[in-house]
Every structure is written in structure tokens, then in C-alpha cells.
Symmetry: C2
Subunit: 364 residues, 2 copies
DNA sequence: CTGTTAGCGCATTCAT
DNA sequence: ATGAATGCGCTAACAG
């Protein structure tokens, strides 16, 4: 071990800087903390001493006495998902611009992880938290409510939670889904598959039951389902439970389910995917069945990407304003931390359907 | 504002719990902190009081007096890159399993951001840091060296830094690149393009200069270049500067450069991409030129993905053990935090070439 | 086994 | 304008 004989302390404190500068601690604290009055001369000496010792303020100690940490906590469902990675960048860009650090935790869609994450953030005394919650029912939000009750500002991003009256920054999921399905319908399709992911073991047979199920689901999924149904209704196309997938939207499950829909006697001719892995899963199923898009089945999916654009043919996809979503969430949170009264409302951003070449009329 | 009349403090402290339980602070601290001896009865009372008040330890105060935070700092070049997102998951999974939280910062390949990130982490008193550094030369590592000097354990991940003698967890970049290029050569190719990204304005004309340039570059890029050259050498194929791209590997630049290589009189027949955006960029160029893979040009790229598998034809790609990379880095770091003497060595993990259908013999 | 006491590093009155 | 004294919530000797 070199370099730790008797040089200078690895982490000089403010007292050591004060001693080195030959002033009182308070004076050193004032200049280093940037508050209160300090004469130019003293100031110079303190700065020089601090520089010489390589002083860095201990953020913990500082938060300890001020009560604020200038840190935002962020809880995302899956940081490995490019969608959330983009949202994160929006959050981190705007919070950094306003002098805040961010600490990110990924729950991987596990509620227990989310609860643990909230606790970690509260324990670390973050000034506020942004969360894309995996909670669905009123019975799963106790941890968020607890945070709010403890006085921690919380804003929801991507997924609103019905039973929580908080600011939420989301996109127009229902409209986006409707537009996509309408596009399919306009191309002449009537047998339109829907890759959805209710945890239920089987698809409810009736619309009514399905809608009920939707409310017990992730908000985004519920909205997208409603949009799908809206489009069907407007075109007077009856809802067919066989055309909606059930179970978690893993690529494998999607492949299976799409294969099933493809094998239906009255085969589907178009497919709408609510997630990016759903698209790759569907593509696998198509290939396995020896089918090609858009000829055999038209395709539209959520979440645009570089890949979608270079596929052959290129995929028509819904592009979400990921960066803006994160930036807006951070702005709202930062504002309420700054003292603004929370408006507790839904901030809805617009998505965009990027037309490319995965939609064609049914082969007939 | 409901719920804050005169109920209980939003954030009860250990003293309040002690008071509520009618015991001394130390006793409360001992049971809540899980150390020292406490009789079962006292213990019960404290626990009950804590539960009643909804007590949660203040992690800041705790770190303050113990000097440890049970938190790992992670600095990644770009959390939006699925590669790093995967690495992050490896890190977070294993550190959580060992009782550590992680705080992630993304530098987006900016050295100043990286320096700021190191400072943030040190200020927050993390117990160790994992970094995928964008630093290339000895002149750009002062911040990392400073951290080490302050006694903070540091382990490098993905990118080793020549001038830093630290533990580094990486993959066999040179071998991986060589194997890929060898595969191309074995298929009969001799005009093999290489999407590389030296910041230099133009490609050095000679091998010697190129290699020199490599050392002034990101370590991974240097290694991959060496692998490319290794394969060429073994097959006695002369190096042609026209076949290597220069400049940052953004999708746009790649598209331009690949188009250039495609327009060469003695056209390239195969392409090796060292990055995932390079692949999409190349694909765009191919389409624009009205060319198809693998017929007109064979293709191999770094970083496998779900998309690569569903492309038509599916892409032959190098798969990196992303999760393992992160897990191993966390293990090494946690071990040295735990007191193990750092071995300061390179931990090399094996990548894997996933053969699919983007390589075929040259059209001739 | 339990309670008292003294810091951790900083911000912040309060006198001077 | 500056310095001495307190407190943030917790851990850790230390005594009882």
C-alpha cells in the first residue's frame, strides 16, 4: 500500500480546512457552503486551504443537517427496456440541469422489489421520487401512499394508478391504440389480433368481463385494450376473445399465442402488439408458420426503434416521446419539491404512429 | 392537507421509539440496529413501539457514524444501450443479494460527466464504485486515481484502461473479433470492411500508425481492431485503410461510411461491425444501395439481441455475457470491500459467436 | 444486559 | 464579519 503514510487525510473535513487556513470552522463552512458573509481575504485563504487539501464536502453530513439531499429517487419497472432507458435519460438530463442527482432502482416488474425500492429511497432521504409502478389495485399501493404520508413528493410516470391521486406523466395510450387499430381496419382488416397481457389464466368471454379485467391490470394495458375495443366498436366489428392473448408478455408466450391465433379456422389477418418484445415474438411465430408480413398479416406495434426501421419491410410502429416523458416527470417533481402545490393531475403527452410498410390490405 | 395534525411524527427517530417503549436510546438502537445484547422482553417492546410509530432507520445518519453506506456506485457509459442495461442488471442482482444498494450514473460517453459522477459518488460516500470508463489516455484518469487514493475500491467493467492498474472485468474482445473475421474469411471473403470508431479525422494509412492510434482509443475498440488485423494477417490479406471507418459510431456516420465502402471500385464483400448501432446503420446503407445480405455483403456484428434473431435473414452476431459481466464486477468489488486484497488483474469472460444466416460466400 | 456519553461532518443560531 | 456552541439521527465505547 503506497501513499498513505502520513500525507494528508484521504478525506479532509471542514475543520481541517479551517485549521489549515487558520480560521474558525464556521467561517470555513460559510465559504465552502456558499452562504453567509465572509470577507474576501478569509474567503481566499479558506479556498486555498480547501484546494490544497483536496476538500470535498460530505454530502451525507450536509443532508443530515439541512434535511435535503438534492437527490431524486427513480423507480422503474425495467431499466433494461429501451423505453425506460429513454425515460431515464429524460429524467436525468432535466434533474441534473436543476442541480439534482438521481438514484435509479429497477424492480423488474416485481411488486416486492418496488416496495423495497421505496423504502431504500426513503431511508436515503431523497427529496422526491418518480415511479413507474407495477401496482395495479388499491391493495397494492400502500407503500406509495406511505411515502406520500411521510411527506415525500411522488410523481408517477408512464403508468398512472387509478387508486392514487398523484401527478402522473403518461401518454395517450387509449388514443394511440385506437389509431393503430383504426389504421388496420382502414386497410381492410376485420380479424385483428391483440397481444395483451392480463395475468388472468384465460381471456374473459365477454366484453364486459374483459373490461372488468382491464381495471385489475396495469393502467397502460387497460387503456390500450380500451383503445382496441373503441376501434372495433366504431367499425362495428364484434369482439372475439380468441384474438386476444393472455398471460405475461414474454417473447416466448407471445410466440405461442400468436401461433395459436394463426392456426384459428377463421385466421387473423392483422396483429397489434402492445410491447416491443411482443413484436419480436410475433415475428418468430410468423416465420415458424411460413408466413410473411405484411402480405399474410399486417403488423403494428408499440415502441419504435432503430431495428424496426431497418427490418425488411420496415415496421409501422407507435413512437412514444420517451425523453419528454422523463423530462416532464422530473419537472413536475422538481416543481413540487421547490414548493409548488402539487396539481395531482394527469399530464398526457402525445405519441405518434410512424407509418412504414408493415400494413397492407388482407390477402383475401 | 390531511393527516398531519398531531398524529405521530412523519419520520420517527430512534429516541422517539425508545421513549414510546420506555427504554433507553441505546437499547432501542441495539435492537433496531441488530447488534449488541438485548433481552427478549425489551426487544419485544422496542419492536412493538417501532412498528407502531412506523419507524425506519435514517440511512444517512447510520452511514454517518459507521462510515459505510452499503451502497455501490455504478458509472456506465450509456444506460440506454441494452449492453450496459444488461450489465447493470448483473450488478444489481448480485449486489442486492449481498445486501448492497446501487446507485447508477450514466455519462453518455462524456468524460466531464464521468468526472462529475465520480465526485457525486464519493461525496455520497459509496463503499465502492464500478465504472465503464470513457477515459482513454493516462491523462484522462486523474479522477479515477483520485478515488482510489481516497481509499475507494474501484473495479472497471467492459473497458479496461491501460494506464490504470485495477481489477477489470471484460470480455475477450480481441479473440471475439478475430473469430468473427476468420469466419468471414473462411467463407471466402477478402475485402472485409470494419466499422471502427477512432476519433481521428482520417484513417492512418499504415498498419503501424493505425495500431498506434488504437492505443489512444477506447480499450475495447483497440482490442477489436487488433483482432481484425490478426485475422487478416493469418490469412495474409493486406490491410486496406479504405475499408475501415473513422469517426464516432453513430448510426448516421456508419450509414455514410458503409455507403462509401460500398462504392469503392474494388468493393467490399463482407462487413464486421463493432457495435449494435453500426449494424442498423450498415443495414440502412445496404438498402439504400439496393443491396442485400448475405448475398451482396456478408455481415457479423457485436451484441446479439432479439431483433437480430428475427431479422430476415437472421443475423450472425457476437453475444456478450452481459449479466455475468456485471455480476462478476460486483463480486470482485464486494470482495475487496469485504476486506479481500484487490488482485488488480484482468478478469476475462468469453463471448460467443452466434451463427445464423448473415454470412455467405462472396457473390463473385 | 442496559443506560450514559461522546462523536461522525456539516449547518446554523447566538454572542462577540 | 467571525467564532463558539448546538443539533441532525445514529453507532459505539464505556460504565453500571
Amino acid at each position: 500500500m503506497p501513499s498513505d503514510r502520513d500525507e494528508m487525510p484521504a478525506r479532509p473535513t471542514i475543520s481541517e480546512v479551517a485549521a489549515e487556513a487558520g480560521v474558525g470552522r464556521a467561517t470555513a463552512a460559510r465559504t465552502l457552503g456558499g452562504y453567509g458573509y465572509v470577507s474576501p481575504e478569509m474567503r481566499e485563504r479558506v479556498l486555498a486551504a480547501a484546494d490544497k487539501l483536496g476538500y470535498r464536502a460530505n454530502a451525507l453530513a450536509r443532508s443530515m443537517s439541512t434535511g435535503v439531499s438534492h437527490t431524486l429517487g427513480v423507480i422503474l419497472a425495467d431499466i433494461g427496456n429501451p423505453f425506460f432507458a429513454g425515460v431515464m435519460r429524460g429524467i436525468s438530463d432535466t434533474s441534473r440541469a436543476r442541480g439534482f442527482d438521481t438514484i435509479v432502482l429497477s424492480t423488474y416488474e416485481d411488486l416486492d422489489e418496488e416496495i423495497a425500492a421505496v423504502n431504500v429511497l426513503i431511508d436515503k432521504r431523497v427529496d422526491g421520487v418518480i415511479v413507474a409502478s407495477t401496482a395495479v389495485g388499491p391493495g397494492e399501493v400502500a407503500h406509495i401512499r406511505a411515502a406520500v404520508d411521510r411527506g415525500v413528493p411522488v410523481v408517477l410516470v408512464d403508468r398512472a394508478v387509478a387508486s392514487l391521486d398523484l401527478d402522473a406523466v403518461v401518454i395517450d395510450n387509449r388514443d394511440a391504440a385506437r389509431e393503430a387499430v383504426e389504421t388496420l381496419i382502414a386497410a381492410g382488416h376485420r380479424r385483428i389480433g391483440f397481444v395483451w397481457g392480463p395475468p388472468a389464466a384465460q381471456v374473459p368471454a365477454t366484453r364486459r368481463e374483459l373490461l372488468a379485467e382491464a381495471s385489475r391490470n396495469l393502467w397502460t394495458d387497460g387503456e390500450r385494450l380500451r383503445g382496441y375495443l373503441d376501434a372495433l366498436d366504431d367499425a362495428r366489428i364484434p369482439f372475439d376473445p380468441d384474438l386476444v392473448m393472455v398471460g405475461r408478455k414474454t417473447e416466448e408466450r407471445v410466440t405461442q399465442e400468436v401461433a395459436r391465433m394463426l392456426a384459428l379456422p377463421d385466421r387473423m389477418t392483422a396483429l397489434f402488439c402492445t410491447e416491443t418484445e411482443a413484436v419480436t415474438g410475433a415475428l418468430r411465430a410468423l416465420r415458424a408458420a411460413g408466413l410473411a408480413y405484411p402480405h399474410d398479416v399486417a403488423l403494428i406495434g408499440f415502441d419504435d426503434s432503430a431495428w424496426a426501421a431497418v427490418m425488411d419491410p420496415p415496421l409501422t410502429m407507435i413512437e412514444q416521446p420517451v425523453h419528454r416523458l422523463g423530462a416532464k416527470a422530473a419537472e413536475v417533481l422538481l416543481d413540487t419539491i421547490g414548493g409548488a402545490e402539487p396539481r395531482r393531475e394527469m399530464h398526457t403527452l402525445r405519441s405518434r404512429l410512424v407509418m412504414r410498410s408493415s400494413v397492407a390490405p388482407p390477402a383475401s
